[in-house]
Amino acid sequence: MNEFLQTQIITELEDAVGEENCSVKEIDKLTHSVDYFWLSRMWADRGRRMPEADYIVSPKDAEETSKVLKIANYYKIPVTTWGGGGGTQGGALPVAGGIILDTKRMNKIYEVNTDSMYIECGTGAIYKHVEWAANEKGYATMHYPSSLTCSTVGGFLAHRGIGVVSTKYGKIDDMVLSMEVVLPNGDIINTSNAPKHAAGPDLNQIFIGSEGTLGVITKAQIRIYEQPEVRRFRGFLFKDMSSAFKASREILQKFKPSVMRLYDNAETASLIKKIVGVEKPGAFMNVAYEGVKELVDVEEKILLDTFSKYGAEDLGSEYGEKWWKEKITFFYPGHMMDLPQMFGTMDTIAPYDKIEKIYWAMKNKIESTFPHVKFIAHFSHWYEWGCMVYDRFIVDKEYVPEDPVEAMKLHNKIWTVGVREAIANGGVVNDHHGVGIKLGRLMKEQYGPAMQVFEGIKKSLDPNGIMNPFKLGL
C-alpha cells in the first residue's frame, strides 16, 4: 500500500480509538506476530520474522470496535483479533497483514451479579482477573485451563476453551449467558437475554468458536459458582485403559466428578512419574469430586465401589493432591516439551465406542509414518457419552530440520496425518484449542457438505472477507 493511503488510514484509525491506542511501531508489530503456535515460535527462534500487521489498534469498547471495523470494511483491510496471544493454533496471527485488533483494553468488570450468578465483563479481561473478581465476592469461575493467567475471556470464547474441572462445570461454551458482538459491518448486537430458549438457534453458539471470522465479541456474561465446601482427590492405577473407560462411563451415569484424567501407559511412565511421582506401570487416573460435604461423602463411596469393580488400584489422595498443585506446571517449558523440540497437541473428542479406537489409530499411524516421533496421551473432559483424548506428538531436537521451511513442512505433515486419522475413526478436527491457520485445511474433510453452513454465514456477515482471513478454513 502506498504511503499516502496508509497515512490516511492511520489518521482514521487514530480518530476511532485515540492516538495512543493506534500503533505502527515495530515493537507492537513484532509482539503481535508470535503467539503460542509452535510454528510462529520456531520461526522467531530461527531468527525469522513472522507476518506482521500494518496497524495495531486497541479499542476500549464495542463502539470503538465498530468504528475500526467500518474503516476496515471501507478500505477492505484484514482484521485479526488478538487477546492474550496464548493460542496454539495460530488463530490470532495476522498472516494477511492489515489490522490487529487487540482487545485487552476492553477489560472492564462491569458487574458481579450474585443474584443470577454471573460476571459481566469486557472480553479483553484476562480470565484470572475475572476469577479474582469472583473470589473477592466468595465465588469462583470454575474455568481453570493452564492458560488461565495468560488468556482473555474473548480468547477462550473464540476457540471454545476448556478448563480442568470441566467434567462437572462444563466448557467455556457452557459458561456464557449472553454476549455483545460487533459484526463485521460495525453493527453492535446482543446475542440473547438468556442462554436457554426456543427463540430460534442459539446465537451465542454461532459466535463462540468462530475465531474472529464472524465479528468481535466485546462483552460477555460469564457464570460463577459457589466455592465447593470440600474438594477431594483420589488417584487410581488401572491395568489397561479399556477397564478405565468402562469404569469412568459407569461413574458418569451416577454423578459428575470435577476432574477426571486418565493417562496412557506412556504418559504415566514419563510425565506422571516425573511430576506426580507414580512409579508403578499402568494407566494412572486422577479423579476429583467436590461440592457439599454430605454429597461428596456419598460420591466418594460410589467412586471407590465402582472403580474397584474394574480392578483399579486405589492410590489414595496424595497423588491427586499433588496433581492438583501441579495442574498448570504440566504444560510449561522445563516440565514438558519446548523448543528446540517439535511438538503439538492433537486433542479430539468422540463417543465411548470410538475414543479408544481413535487413540490407537492415531498412535499407530503417527509412530509408523514418522519413526522418530513420540506419541503420548491422556483422556480428560468426560461426559456421559464420551470423552476427549489429549494426544501429543514430540520430535526431539536431532530430528527437527534446521531449515525453518523444512521444519514447517514436517510439522504440517505430522498434523495432517494425525488429525486425518482422528476424523477417519470418528473424531473431530479439535476438542478445545481451536482450528486457526494450523488446521483450517482439515475443516472441509470433517464437515463435508456441512461446511457450506459456515461458509454461508461467513459470506453473509463478512462479504468483504476482512475478518481473520485464512482461519477456520473460511
Binding site: R49, G85, I126, P333, H335
Partner: protein, 342 residues
Amino acid sequence: MCRHICPIGNATGQERNTARARALCASVVVRGAEKIDDIIDNIYECSLCGACTNNCITGWDPKIFIQEVKADAVLNGVIPPYIKDLLTKYQQTGNVYGIPYDESLKKYFDRESNILFLVGQDALYKSANSVKNACELLKKAGVNFTLNEKSNSTGSALWFLVGKTADTKQSAEQSAEIINGYEKVVVYDPVDLKFIKREWAEWGVTVKAEIIGFNAFLIDLIDSGKLNVVKSDKAYTVQDNYAYSRELDDSETVRKLVDRVGVNKEMLLNGKETNLAGHLIMNEYMKEVQSKVAANRWENAKNMDCKTLVTENPAEYELLKENCPDGYRVLSVEEMISENIK
C-alpha cells in the same frame, strides 16, 4: 507466560507490556532480527517489581534480561532521550530528579549521631512529608539520628536506569563509605534496603554498619516502650512493597506494626503476591500510566472494602495519595503509628 500480574500491562492493556513480549523482543534482538533501538522504550516500561518473576512457573526471571538489555543499550549508545535527561540530572545534582531537598528538612541533616537515617532519593526529593513524619516519629521515641544527603545515592536509582555499570557500582561504594562511618543505619525505603542487602552484597561492596529496615526499627521502638501506642479496632490494609515482600521475603514486619495499633484487613494480592502501586522514577516519563497503576491498586482496595491503605515505600505512598478516591485514605507506616501514639 503470565499476562495477569504485570502492573504496567494491566494499566496500559498493551501487549508489549507483558513479560512474554519483552522476552520475545530481547530474543529477536539477540538473533539479529531486530535492532535494540526498536525495543528499548519497552524495556523502560518495566518497573522491575518482579511480579512476573514471582509468578513464573518455569522459574524465569525477566528482570535479569531486562537489566542486561539496559546495560547493552548503554554500550550501544541507544538510551532513550528521557532516560538520558534523568542521567544528566543525576550527574549535575546527584539525584535523578535534579532538584534540591525541601528546606524544611534541613534541620535533620548532619547532626552528631551514630545512627544514620537513610531515607533514599525518592523520599528525600519527592516525598518531603514522609521524611518529616518519619523523622518526627523517631524524635518522639528519643532516637538521636542524622540524615546525610550523599548517603542516599545508594546506586539503586542508577541501577534502575542503566543496570550494573561501573558508575552504578561506584555510586554504591561511595554511599557505603559514608554509611560505614556510622554504627547503625536505618533504611527507610525498602527498595534501598533490598539494594544494599542484595546488589551490594553481590558486588562485594563492604558494609560494616548494622543495617536495619525502618519497619523493624519501629517495632523495636514500640516493643521496648520508647514509642507508646494504643491498640484499637481501626482497620488498616497493607500495600505490601515488592522489595520487602518478594525480594527480602518480609511481609510480616509491617503486619506486626499494624497489629500493634489496629486490625489488619487484607486486600487481594498481598504479601509476596503484591501488585505495585507506583514508581516515582517512571512517573518522570510515563506519568499517566503510573496514575493508572495506582488507580488499579485502589480498585483492589475498593473491591475488598479496604478504606485505609498503609504503605511502606514513598513512591507508592505518593502515587496512591495523588490518586486517592473520595472516602479512602493512604497512610505511611509512620503516619499510622503517629495517629495511635498515647
